[in-house]
């Protein structure tokens, strides 16, 4: 369930200053300072956040970069899974749309 409206053109960003990330094995614990919440990410969602920190982008852009980083193809990681992962990150406040954050 999306937290709010977004489109394919929405630019997603992640604010690195707001996180404390610690990796254990293939699992990432992320503490979100502003919200005071702890989240567990896997390699996919961790890569999404990392890419959105380095260079915010729209859904398609992030999708391409993440697949490239993880050496995966669209068969391994369908775009629906990618989009639902972005929405989950939005839900917990680790990603947000850029136009919203500028408001």
């Amino acid at each position: 369930m999306a937290v709010g409206p977004y489109t394919s053109q929405t630019i997603w960003i992640a604010e690195a200053d707001d996180f404390v990330i610690r990796q254990f094995e293939d699992v990432y614990f992320v503490f979100c300072k502003s919200a005071g919440t702890t989240h567990l990410l896997n390699f996919l969602t961790a890569s999404i956040v990392k890419n959105a920190v380095d260079k915010p982008g729209n859904m398609k852009d992030l999708y391409d970069r993440v697949l490239n980083d993880l050496e995966l193809d669209a068969e391994d990681c369908p775009s629906e899974l990618f989009e639902s992962s972005v929405v989950q990150l939005d839900e917990v406040g680790l990603l947000k749309p850029k136009e919203y954050s500028n408001a």
């Binding site: 404390v20 610690r22 254990f24 614990f29």
Partner: protein, 309 residues
């Protein structure tokens, strides 16, 4: 000023101090101000808390304030009962007057669990030797108290059978050596293990069945301000007639489990996250299933050795 222990005090003085609500108990991580009209509580303090530093007049504000009192003025005359009153709203059941000690212990535990934020608080037993500490995380009935007692017998200091208190600035646990609470069958197991003189007389027919307390040793109390780095984390579970088995846990699994067993993880935010992950980095963790305390201890000894304890 040298510390006064409860055993140094006069019984009548302690009782009148309790009546005045002036009795100050100073024990490791937390101090407590106690008030009570119950002579049973005085007996209990002189037995189970005899080596604990205390003052007849309040010297400082305390972490915990507890009034072990009859539930209301009228009930006192109708049917003697006591209720723990930690000075804030908690669900508590009034107990018969003879159960005042249980009421005290429950009230102190509730206060620590719900009120104190200075440490990341795990629902866990904790002990340590000169090389480091062991955290024993488990639900009621997992044998936390029995294992804590068994490790004490092996030369470990008692930190607590109920709370692992992790500092927020470094990966150290802090002692709070209150008496170890024993239920049902574990009472006789522990009496055999440590000698009957170290275990209080049983309180029968409590809402939790038969209860007794294994006293902290003077050496535990004397070192109640000396923290220890955590080296070993155990998640025991007890089941009758089961052969012992253990599984080494990954760091990630350990972190997730510990977050679940912490009473104030969310509350403490970033500090808790850092302290907890730091602690797990420096410790080995095992899930243990056992049906016999000695068999379990054999495994624990091995793990402790590997962890450098």
């Amino acid at each position: 000023m040298p510390e006064t222990l409860i055993s140094d005090l006069n019984r009548a003085d302690v009782f009148s101090s309790l009546k005045e609500g002036q009795f100050e108990l100073i024990l490791g991580a937390f101090s407590a101000r106690l008030a009570s009209q119950s002579p049973e509580l005085v007996d209990f303090l002189f037995d189970v808390y005899r080596d604990v530093p205390a003052n007849l007049e309040l010297q400082e504000v305390t972490d915990i304030a507890l009034n072990v009192r009859p539930p209301n003025v009228f009930r006192k005359y109708l049917r003697p009962q006591v209720i723990p009153d930690p000075g804030f709203k908690v669900p508590a059941v009034p107990l018969p007057k003879k159960m005042a000690p249980l009421s005290l212990e429950m009230g102190m535990n509730l206060s620590v669990a719900l009120k104190c934020c200075r440490f990341l608080t795990f629902h866990a037993g904790a002990v340590a030797n000169e090389n480091g500490g062991v955290l024993i995380s488990g639900a009621s009935g997992s044998g936390k108290s029995t294992l804590t007692t068994a490790l004490m017998q092996e030369g470990y200091r008692l930190f607590s059978d109920e709370f692992g208190l992790l500092s927020l600035d470094k990966a150290e646990i802090n002692p709070y050596p209150r008496p170890v609470s024993l239920k049902g069958n574990s009472i006789s197991v522990v009496r055999d293990m440590v000698g009957a003189e170290w275990v209080s007389k049983s309180i029968m027919n409590t809402p939790k069945g038969e209860i007794a307390y294994r006293r902290a040793r003077r050496s535990d109390i004397e070192q109640a301000n000396v923290p220890a780095p955590v080296k070993l984390i155990l998640f025991p579970s007890f089941a009758e007639n089961i052969s012992p088995r253990a599984k080494k846990l990954t760091k990630a699994e350990t972190i997730m489990r510990l977050i679940e067993s912490a009473t104030n993880y969310k509350l403490l935010g970033e500090a808790a996250y850092k302290a907890l992950t730091d602690m797990v980095v420096g410790a080995e963790a095992y899930d243990i299933t056992y049906g016999d305390t000695e068999e379990c201890m054999q495994m624990v000894r091995d793990f402790a050795g590997e962890a450098g304890l």
